[in-house]
Point group: C2
């Protein structure tokens, strides 16, 4: 994760959680994050697929949380936006002639996914509600 997707997604959800059931526009969200509205809509679309937000089109459209912020744990956000593993990428063309090169990616698979799992577990213990509660 060398990108801003998690920060963007959590920012979006924090605004929605803080908006008293109002449907807020991507334009408005974008101005808080200070990124292009299209970037926000793209992320909203991902969060929608993950079942975290609802959106509606048309005049008076916008987005809102799909469930209570106490029922949204941070791991679901992470999972929705994650596009790489914690320990990064493997070298894909390791030498099959070399005993180490031949096997290392299989070994890395186990390590990489167990580290990823530990992050997921850590995030499962935190809710959007408690994150939002940190703001006053």
């Amino acid at each position: 994760m060398n990108n801003t997707r998690f920060a963007t997604a959590l920012h979006i959800l924090t605004l929605l959680a803080d908006s008293n059931e109002e449907w807020i526009s991507s334009e408005w969200i974008a101005s808080s994050i200070n990124v292009n509205p299209v970037v926000v809509r793209r992320e909203l679309s991902v969060l929608n697929e993950a079942g975290l937000v609802l959106s509606r089109k048309g005049k008076a459209g916008g987005s809102a949380l799909a469930k209570n912020s106490s029922d949204i744990t941070l791991d679901s956000i992470y999972r929705a936006v994650k596009n790489s593993e914690v320990l990064g990428k493997r070298n894909e063309k390791t030498n099959p002639q070399c005993p180490i090169g031949k096997e290392i990616n299989a070994k890395l698979d186990g390590l990489f996914s167990s580290i990823d799992d530990s992050v997921i577990r850590e995030l499962q213990g935190r809710t959007l509600e408690s994150f939002v509660a940190e703001f006053h």
Copy 2:
């Protein structure tokens, strides 16, 4: 971490651990990983700074582990190569007019570093020796 640096570093160290005290060349390491030797030398230099490997120049030069593989925990490798946080980057230009935009990066700091810490702890429990032992 959306790069191959951890995989590359661990590959290098695995080869060194497996090499019976021989000093092996970056050329040889590169052919196992299948990357450019300069990439290997750059990473060796980082691992050297971290106190994990020794290198010597000249004919019959090469690299070797600086300490026993049982004394190398994976977190030291991770720390040496890590150049981004687990949850990625923050949006750097959030809106100071917005109550959320104004504070979110401070809140993310706490979250991001506690997740990073949990990864470090997880990696501390694993040694290079036991990783290498998985190969036969």
